[in-house]
Symmetry: C2
Subunit: 255 residues, 2 copies
């Protein structure tokens, strides 16, 4: 799937054809291949660039001393892994591929130049950042207050919507390279419990699964099972109540 980045950003702010082309060109440069489960960033690394996911899935995770692991988020094609703003900061977590993946490392300085040259892109990147925060918080809600079934359903909904915006949902389903152990580490449960919960959802007809391909025959029902409300993942209706002004990204010029 091409042009995944521009598709994602265009969903966050209207982009001109010129801007889309710019993003697509940038994305084609500097490619790098990752084997499954390969670390891309290690906790403590100083960050000088962000990686754009071209294909495959990437995740951020924390490893505790005694082996417990928590995945704190997935990066899907079109996502930028790691804080766009964090130049020079040291990373608080690991970032690794989930399956075979292709990424494109973009120095933060370059990203910044682009944001300056194309304000709409800068604006989209800001909104992307805000979105990332909202997703992160929704994970806390799942981990804190939803049971295993709801967590799994919620995650699948999140992924379904996010993949949808970059055109990776086909036939009401998507390819998902996440192993049951990984689901466990993302959902804060045990691999065997993931297995049982998956069976539970399948038995309820909420998902079908052929090897690594999930299909969702009735998305509204899956949303209900996960207490999922897509609002936090999508753009607010333009010209909504009170939001008369165009959204402006702030914190400009802080270099």
């Amino acid at each position: 799937m091409e042009a995944v980045w521009s598709r994602k950003l265009a969903a966050l702010a209207p982009l001109t054809a010129r801007e889309v082309a710019e993003l697509d060109t940038l994305m084609r440069s500097r490619s790098r291949h990752l084997a499954p489960r390969q670390d891309l960033v290690v906790e403590g690394d100083a960050v000088q660039s962000v990686a754009l996911v071209r294909s495959g899935w990437v995740c951020r995770y924390k490893q505790l001393v005694d082996g417990r692991r928590q995945i704190t988020g997935f990066f899907l094609p079109g996502d930028l892994c790691g804080s766009h703003l964090a130049t020079g900061e040291t990373s608080d977590m690991h970032v690794a591929s989930v399956n075979e993946a292709e990424i494109c490392e973009i120095p933060t300085a370059l990203l910044q130049e682009i944001a300056q040259a194309y304000p709409a892109i800068g604006h989209a990147l800001c909104r992307d950042l805000v979105l990332e925060g909202a997703i992160q918080r929704s994970w806390s809600v799942s981990l804190g207050r939803r049971d295993a079934r709801e967590r799994l359903a919620h995650l699948l909904c999140e992924v379904y919507v996010r993949l949808g915006t970059v055109g990776l949902v086909t036939d009401d389903g998507f390819h998902c390279p996440v192993r049951q152990v990984d689901f466990a580490d993302a959902l804060g449960i045990t691999p065997v419990h993931v297995n049982r919960t998956l069976q539970d959802l399948r038995a309820a007809g909420l998902i079908h699964k052929r090897s690594r391909f999930f299909s969702v025959p009735d998305f509204p029902r899956l949303m209900a099972a996960g207490l999922f409300h897509p609002g936090y993942l999508s753009k607010p209706p333009p010209g909504g109540p009170g939001a008369s002004g165009q959204a402006r990204s702030s914190l400009a010029a802080a270099a």
Copy 2:
């Protein structure tokens, strides 16, 4: 406690006396008082300003349909509640005071002007944003992979360090207005289990508590109990390995 905001930002980037003065002045204007448990932002609101906490504690939370509630973060004196970048976005969660609080609403447009006029301040605000992300992820780790005792200890450590940087830790302790129900909603457990876990920590000599004042006789031991590593909350050592360049905040000029 005065100058709480400038203290916090100065810990994130070196500020001149002029900049500190600017922040302190701004903070004194536009004050607003909040009763305990008063909503400041409601899910769905369009955001046009951020609130700076002058005193008291504020939290962000999600309310599920059936009454379950998850607190996804606390805002302490000197913290900015809500995304600095989110002008015009609609809020994904509620923001409410925990106890009596004083806040100062700052229009995002004004914040942006200041960031432009004083680059160091803009830089500090960017780092603040990155920090907020790291804290949020650490909550996911706690909720997903730490048991009740570790979660509570970890949260107390986080708060201890954060309050420390704004000068609100005295006698190795701090005032904490969080009720047991609130702890429960933050930690993803039950109020009665909070109670028992609190007793557990007290029995182990890890904390002492007189009404709402927590004291921490042996911080390293509390850190160990919570698997807490303060790295993610503090500035990387200046001139650390590989981080030769000054950290630059990016995404400038996206309006």
